[in-house]
């Protein structure tokens, strides 16, 4: 990932627009013509009126009418062209911004992700940027077109009467000043509104994801009540933001209206002094209205613009968020097996309560370690540290003899495979689920063989579209099958260190035994750490480590510990054997 300084706020958009310079200038050129052509209209209408008053022949009047028609239509046609070009541009810019946001969010640490739901990220990566693209595809052009229009009006009206031109300039300046002043006041309120919406959608996403949990526990009312609360919060913030945001609109509109009334008064005065024709008064009046007409178009986009500013700000904030895990540069050697080592590691998930407490642990390359201890004793954390999903505050974590902090995370994680109890399946094809969207490149034969190896042969045979079958949720495979799939996923990556974190806990004993047999073959020659509650799963590991409340209390060869009547492992074995015997 390129480590460039993220530009803040509005500078962000400029940074993304810069590469589009040529497209932007072409667009601007067309826009200038499209905006200036219709300005002939009021002049032609003025001529029409003067011609009528002075008794010009009707074919001359008809010609002026036709001229009006042609210039207006040509202007509209060009407008459409501008829209087409600008929409293309906006999507290019928006998508590259989305891509960067997605890339950045992917790089953030799990601690950060713990505080941000997937729904929130949809808002950040897509919703906010939607506002930004809507803004840049329409509102920016409306603003720019407006500026061109105003300039054109000022020049043409100056030809009619310089005082009128000044009056229009003053009106526009006053209206714009009011708008900008109030707009700036409104931004924090729009920000607040977007935050509230983000919470609303984040909550909805979670509730919809946990619908069965809600229903079966009779918690529907609770979820609905929260939607009520979030909606009420949105109502309040939306109105609060409207007061500021649309107050500017109302103020500017009033200024423009006053400007055109004064223009009419000025025209009347000049006309009575014989300095202006009636047609020119009409043209000037039309011009003074013309500069306010597009204001409406801008105003329609103004809410979008303010949302876009707020969205851009949040995008900049997201891009400025630094991952607690800073990527190293070293590459991990391609050895078949890797040593895993924890040196004096003390670690807590930022809460102050250490989950691991001064742990020293070495798993030599090519050996297997069984990690046992009651829930919450820190077993899973060992795996997470080795895969560098978290960084330890105290001590060092080494894989293949290298401090994980020195390693490029991709290089590390390609060689460290983790299968957890929480299987993360994607709503994508079986192939995508196995290769994690193509992160592992393998041919279909290998994929099928691996599925067979983990015991999913019959499941695979039932797939309607083979590897292209779309997995669409829990209906398509049971939790146990999902675990086998996750296991296949890891094996495909050919890791040098495999961590099985309760990887077989959702399997029935028969299937588990088959899997253990298969895995033994597949893990041969690789380093492995196996975390399991069922001690039978650990029958064939080389060594055992026992964790108790974050401390490594026992570590030794499995056989020796199992023999030693005083060892904790032996005690655990005995306890589970009693349980199993009672069970038979």
């Amino acid at each position: 990932m390129p480590a460039h300084d993220p530009p803040a706020d509005a500078r962000l958009l400029t940074a993304y627009l810069r590469p589009e310079g040529r497209a932007l200038s072409a667009l601007t050129g067309i826009l200038v013509v499209a905006m200036l052509l219709p300005l002939a209209g009021p002049v032609l209408v003025g001529r029409f009126v003067d011609g009528a008053l002075h008794g010009r022949p009707s074919h001359e009047l008809a010609l002026l009418g036709a001229g009006f028609l042609v210039t207006a239509l040509a202007g509209d046609g060009l407008q459409l062209l501008v829209t087409w070009l600008s929409v293309r541009l906006a999507w290019r810019v928006g998508n590259s911004l989305r891509l960067d946001l997605c890339r950045h969010a992917l790089g953030l640490d799990l601690d950060w992700h713990g505080g941000h739901s997937a729904g929130q990220l949809i808002e950040r990566i897509d919703g906010d940027i939607d506002a930004v693209t809507t803004f840049s595809s329409t509102a920016v052009l409306q603003l720019l077109g407006n500026a061109i229009l105003v300039l054109g009006v000022l020049v043409i009206s100056a030809f009619i009467d310089w005082r009128a031109s000044i009056l229009i300039a003053v009106t526009v300046a006053a209206a714009v000043a009011i708008m900008l002043r109030l707009r700036r006041l409104a931004v924090p309120f729009y920000d607040e509104e977007r935050e509230v919406q983000g919470r609303l959608y984040g909550d909805v996403e979670e509730r919809l994801g946990g619908l069965e949990d809600l229903r079966a526990n009779g918690a529907g009312d609770w979820a609905v009540h929260q939607l009520h609360r979030n909606s009420a919060a949105w109502w309040r913030t939306a109105r609060r933001a409207a007061l500021r945001g649309d107050g500017s609109l109302s103020g500017a509109g009033a200024v423009f209206a006053a400007g055109s009334v004064v223009m009419l008064a000025l025209g009347a005065w000049l006309c009575r002094r014989g300095e202006l024709s009636v047609g020119s008064v009409l043209a000037l009046l039309r011009f003074s209205q013309l500069v306010s007409d597009p204001l409406w178009k801008v105003a329609e986009q103004l809410a979008e613009a303010q949302k876009a500013v707020a969205g851009t700000r949040r995008a900049a904030r997201l891009l400025a968020t630094r991952s607690a895990i800073v990527d190293g540069t070293a590459e991990l050697a391609g050895d078949r097996s890797l040593t895993a080592e924890l040196r004096a590691v003390t670690f807590g998930y930022g809460t102050g309560h250490p989950v691991l407490d001064a742990v020293d642990l070495v798993v030599p390359a090519g050996t297997s370690l069984g990690l046992v201890g009651r829930t919450g004793s820190g077993k899973s954390t060992v795996g997470r540290l080795l895969a560098r999903l978290w960084d330890t505050e105290v001590g060092t974590v080494l894989v293949g003899g290298v401090d994980v902090r020195a390693l490029q995370s991709g290089s590390l994680r390609r060689r460290v495979g983790v299968v957890t109890q929480e299987v993360e399946l994607f709503r994508a094809s079986v192939r995508d689920n196995l290769t994690v969207f193509g992160a592992t490149t393998t041919d279909d034969a290998t994929l099928l063989r691996t599925l067979e190896d983990v015991g999913l042969a019959s499941w695979t045979a039932d797939l309607t579209d083979g590897l292209d079958t779309h997995l669409d949720g829990p209906g398509d495979l049971s939790a146990g099958e999902a675990q086998l799939l996750a296991f296949a996923r890891v094996l495909l990556a050919d890791p040098g260190l495999v961590i099985l974190d309760e990887a077989s806990s959702r399997l029935d004993p028969a299937t588990e035994d088959r899997l253990v047999a298969a895995t033994e073959r597949l893990l041969r020659g690789r380093t492995s750490i196996i975390i399991a509650h069922r001690l039978a799963t650990l029958d064939r590991v080389d060594a055992i480590a026992v964790l108790d409340r974050g401390r490594l209390v026992e570590h030794g060869p499995r056989a020796a510990l199992a023999e030693d009547p005083g060892s904790r492992f032996r005690a655990l074995l005995d306890a589970s054997r009693v349980a199993e015997v009672v069970g038979q």
Partner: protein, 589 residues
């Protein structure tokens, strides 16, 4: 029970339901009726705002008419009146817009509340009603709700513009009937073009929506499973896919946006054409002196007002068609598949916020009577088919109060499907379920607390303080007991804020075992008559698990009925009845 099978192909379903019916109009109309005052208040302001330029135009005409000749001072009074009229117009805009924003939120909220209420509470399984991923589902609540709110919004513009245009055209017709016809003519043309453009616009919109849903669904999926992405070092591959999806979506969105813009620009073109046409046609009348400068001024000012109508009409047509798609998609979220249920009147509490929710108080088990008190549950000849074939065949099962019934069997045998079908979470094709001898028709609303609590195999916790995600609105009184029974009390001591600790999405801050035990506490706190447990112990070590089951049975004093899925010998040993499933059938002992 009859379950209509719902096509899983979202695209097909949306199209087939959306065609032919003006459902977004009906949808919006029903929302309007839900709170007519909000809409009518906005409308009255809008009508005033739109029609005031008609008065201004007449005042301008009076001024212009008096410009060349009439030397009197009378024109200044007209100018004062004109100024007052214009300023008043802008002064009413601000309150109108603030009120409108509230109404706009209301129109979003009505279908959202109806859909969520139906999803969490209406009878029948929810599978098939929700789109694939929660991320896609969010786009229903976000984008589709917005499209429908916009229909009501565009009606405001439409009615107000029609009022202004009607008055304007009448005034113009009095001045020059030919000119009035010339100005009105383009509206007819635009409506014709809009009609022929309509189906294409709708197709483009649908394609854009699907492409967007794929993108949001992908983001939701990827960040929902961020750990797997990281562990798999799949960041680059994910970005690749994201870029490709974004590319496809941009292509669809370009068509959609340019199409929408086209219909709007057409409106603009015809407005200008109207004025040009009028000038051409009235030229002889002007030449004859039938029309004077003031009348031409009237035409130019009214052209803007009347010219707005085609634009708004085009927008209305586009929004209405886009709303049709959204209304159909909302209908699919509802239990009865009817858009009317999504648009029905509902109490919203927007102004004040909802009243503090009364905690759900469940009577203690000994006090329960009638159907709330459990004696016996029987399942007869249960069949379940899902998309990919027969999942369960002819399941018979009987549970009596105080029993522990354990379902066991190999992976994919249908164990979870059995309990989920029993709870009504997925549809069954055949089978009778009786509770205390009474046949239960809708399982999903029957098998809820205080009768039943359910602990899923992969529980979902919500991003809330731990106690809230356990209670989910129920009474706090049983919390201590539930936490103790779920063996969570030790863990709580180690959490930074104890039971008020914020649990991250998907419980990232909790270990797998803690998530499962929190979900167990969630089921226990309801003190159900029948506890349904799908593989409680998969994340627990033997000691914790033993402690948990022992505690549970001790606390119940023999009066606990459990239907559990488990492989643990320890649990099987306790069982009064073991049901072994194999390939969706009960295998004989």
């Amino acid at each position: 029970m009859t379950t209509t099978s719902i096509p899983t192909d979202t695209a097909g379903a949306a199209t087939s339901t959306a065609t032919g019916t003006a459902s977004s109009t009906r949808f919006a109309w029903r929302m309007l009726k839900a709170d007519p005052l909000a809409w009518l208040f906005s409308l009255s302001m809008w009508v005033v705002f739109f029609t005031m330029p008609i008065g201004s135009g007449l005042l301008i005409r009076s001024v212009v008419d008096r410009l060349p000749h009439a030397p009197g001072a009378s024109i200044w009074w007209f100018l004062v009146a004109l100024g007052a009229c214009e300023l008043a117009r802008w002064a009413i805009l601000l309150p109108a817009i603030i009120q409108w924003h509230g109404a706009f939120v209301l129109w979003h909220t009505i279908p959202r509340l109806n859909a969520l209420t139906s999803l969490v509470a209406d009878p029948g399984p929810v599978t098939g009603r929700l789109p694939g991923s929660p991320g896609e589902a969010v786009s229903r609540f976000r984008d589709d709700a917005r499209d429908l709110a916009l229909v009501l919004d565009v009606w405001l513009d439409l009615v107000a513009a029609f009022a202004a245009t009607g008055v304007g055209l009448v005034v113009l017709a009095v001045v020059s009937p030919v000119g009035a016809i010339a100005v009105a003519f383009p509206i007819v043309i635009v409506l014709g073009i809009g009609q022929s453009l309509g189906s294409r616009l709708r197709r483009w919109r649908l394609a854009e929506r699907q492409a967007t849903a794929r993108v949001t669904g992908f983001i939701g999926d990827v960040f929902g499973g961020i750990a797997a992405v990281k562990v798999g070092a799949a960041e680059a591959a994910v970005l690749d896919r994201f870029e490709r999806l974004g590319h496809d979506r941009a292509a669809a969105a370009r068509k959609d946006q340019v199409g929408t813009q086209l219909s709007q620009v057409l409106g603009g073109i015809t407005a200008n054409a109207g004025l040009g046409l009028a000038l051409l046609l009235v030229a002889p009348a002007v030449r004859r002196g039938d029309l004077d400068a003031g009348d031409i001024a009237l035409f130019t000012t009214y052209a803007t007002t009347v010219g707005g109508l085609p634009r708004i009409t085009a927008r209305w047509a586009a929004f209405q068609r886009q709303g049709d798609v959204s209304a159909a998609r909302f209908a699919r979220l509802m239990a009865d598949g009817d858009a009317d249920s999504a648009s029905q009147r509902v109490t919203t509490w927007l102004r004040t916020g909802p009243p503090v929710a009364e905690p759900i108080a469940l009577p203690a088990p000994p006090d329960r009577t009638g159907s709330d008190r459990f004696h016996q549950l029987t399942v007869r000849d249960l069949h379940v088919r899902l998309d990919d074939g027969e999942q369960l065949t002819g399941i018979d099962l009987t549970l009596v109060r105080g029993e522990l019934v354990v379902v066991t069997g190999p992976v994919g045998a249908g164990k979870s499907i059995l309990v989920r079908a029993l709870l009504g979470l997925i549809p069954r094709d055949a089978g009778t379920v009786t509770w205390n001898g009474t046949v239960v028709d809708d399982l999903s609303t029957w098998f809820v607390p205080p009768r039943v609590s359910y602990l899923p195999q992969v529980p979902r916790l919500f991003s809330e303080p731990l106690d809230d995600t356990i209670l989910l609105g129920s009474d706090r009184s049983g919390l201590e007991r539930a936490l103790r029974l779920a063996c969570l009390d030790d863990d709580l001591d180690e959490m930074p804020d104890g039971r008020a600790t914020l649990v991250g999405p998907k419980g990232v801050r909790l270990s797998g075992g803690q998530v499962q035990r929190a979900a167990a506490a969630r089921a226990f706190v309801r003190r159900p008559e029948l506890l349904v447990v799908d593989d409680l112990s998969s994340a627990l070590d033997v000691a914790t698990e033993t402690r948990l089951w022992d505690g549970l049975f001790d606390a119940a004093g023999g009066d606990l009925t459990v239907l559990a899925i488990s492989h643990r010998p320890r649990v099987l040993a306790r069982a009064d009845q073991v049901v072994e499933l194999r390939d969706g059938r009960i295998s004989p002992p």
